[in-house]
Symmetry: C2
Subunit: 111 residues, 2 copies
Amino acid sequence: MAHSKLTDYKEEEIQMARFAKAMGHPARIAILKLLASMDTCFCGEIVEELPIAQATVSQHLKELKDAGLIQGSIEAPKIRYCIEPKNWEIARKLFADFWYQSSLSMQNTTC
Amino acid sequence: MAHSKLTDYKEEEIQMARFAKAMGHPARIAILKLLASMDTCFCGEIVEELPIAQATVSQHLKELKDAGLIQGSIEAPKIRYCIEPKNWEIARKLFADFWYQSSLSMQNTTC
DNA sequence: AAAACTAATCGTATATTTGCGATATACAAA
DNA sequence: TTTGTATATCGCAAATATACGATTAGTTTT
């Protein structure tokens, strides 16, 4: 048997989908790029950059935090955000492997 | 001025978010992996693999197709699916650049 | 022409996402 | 202790996503 019906998805697929979903909005891509390029920055700076209201930015930040891609630390009265290095590396690797594996097995055929 | 308020997101961010969103579900990750590893396969084979109903698989396939990541061709009475090579490469590159750029600018600091 | 098969679409229910203004919270500054 | 500043959270509305069974559409086989 080459393949068999899955009772559920693999943990790796679930994890990768979780990261991908967190990245599935232009605002969150922009936030991640900003954080990666500026190393760290304050919430307020992000709000200034994006074409959405403060409450909405805060919501996007929460989603990225819940997915584990970023973290924040209090520097009263501000909050400093940055990439969460461990999960960032996990995500990077998951996606890198994903496309690497596909390049190995995929032929140049089209259907 | 280092940065300025965006009136809207960059096309690249929108495109990347579109791909990421399409990949933001375990079923769709599983489908993409399956297609990449099997080169091409029939819709029915995908349905057999996944723990969800045929109608739901069809819906996920439609989303992947709408995002441009896969394509299908009729081989009556079946439909053969495969990766859409052009957009696949565009997506791969977007993600690769994304993490490469971040590795360039990110220090090993944490906040 | 009828029956069988594959896959898309419809209709529906429920859950999640997105966005905002308003408000609350937490801390610093006065 | 009051005031101000920064950010999270609340409450809401609208849109989108997820899942399924049932049905339809398109082809092939009989």
